[in-house]
Symmetry: C2
Subunit: 189 residues, 2 copies
DNA sequence: CCTACCGATCGGTAGG
DNA sequence: CCTACCGATCGGTAGG
């Protein structure tokens, strides 16, 4: 057993926060998961709140990265919406704990970190909004479609995924991406 | 200042749980909100977990009631989907704290209560599923529409509402109901 | 509903 | 990363 890294601690915190919530997790709980004492965590991080910040910012970063990748192509607005959806679902499934903590515990961030995370979130949502907006301008989406509302609707569907979707179940990843894409695209038309 | 009722305590708990989470709320916090001591709460209820159960079951009950009302008409499947959406949004806005606690703190319920609440939730979702299913059978919705998935998508949009929608803002209640209904209906067609 | 209190647990620190 | 510990706060109770 070699010494744990800071990333190990943050990953463990993500798992605990995602399943038990920030306030439902004690430093001793977290230490138990990691095989060390709660007090030993303080040799890696400054405190519990610092761990929440690290987990949430990691989660937010994954989403922004995925959006940047999707936007980096010259795909049509329709295809780009598909890619944004696929990217979001990829993050949700590949980084479940960080994604979920980002989505559910952001309210418990100290005000400074919360502002920072909300700015990141706005950047991310802007990728959806501008793509949908481009589709409206290109007449491929409805003229009276409000990109802001449509973005919220699509992200609402996406963010709820981790509460019910099981990748080992009937629908594989491609199937759920396509089904949600079809539902969303219909709403945009 | 007359003695508080059990309902007052449960309402106060709903407000606190909705904003700070179950684990982020202490009995003393709750007492402060109510103008009594934390220990005084125990003359009304058996404990903190009992309060969570009461709040969550109240929230769940409102939704089931709304669904029953919507289903009690002989409206077309399309109109009934509209009414179910309107009913859900009504509960969300008229009973924000209970609805939110029901949606976000259900994981912290003891296993017995959690099972009960999940059964109630399933009954509620069945109202959406069967209505959509009837629409598919009547050829008003797409033949390859999966009522189970469509229900999840619509409820995802609905449940995310309380995190961003402000009734005092640009969109009044009727407008948001209609906009979500249109988006959802398009996805069903 | 308050006074007075309980043991357990909390986040966190000093020193090694 | 552990030992040993701190003061604060936790959910909850006895008795009035």
């Amino acid at each position: 057993m070699t010494r744990l890294s800071r990333d190990d601690i943050v990953a463990g915190a993500g798992k605990r926060f995602a399943t038990h919530g920030y306030h439902g997790t004690s430093m001793r709980d977290l230490g138990d998961d990691l095989g060390i004492l709660g007090s030993s965590i303080y040799s890696h991080v400054g405190g519990k709140q610092e761990l929440l910040v690290a987990v949430v910012e990691r989660g937010a970063g994954f989403f922004v990265e995925a959006a940047r990748d999707a936007m980096a192509t010259d795909a049509s607005p329709e295809d780009m919406v598909h890619d944004l959806i696929a990217g979001h679902i990829g993050v949700l499934l590949d980084h479940r704990h960080e994604a979920r903590t980002y989505l559910t515990e952001v309210d418990f961030l100290d005000p400074v970190a919360q502002q920072r995370v909300n700015d990141i979130r706005d950047t991310y949502e802007e990728a959806f909004r501008s793509t949908i907006s481009a589709g409206v301008d290109a007449d491929v989406f409805r003229k009276d479609c409000d990109p802001r509302l449509a973005t919220i609707y699509i992200l609402s569907i996406l963010n709820a995924l981790d509460r019910w979707y099981d990748e080992a179940g009937r629908l594989d990843r491609e199937a759920i991406v396509n089904d949600i894409y079809r539902f969303a695209r219909a709403g945009l038309k």
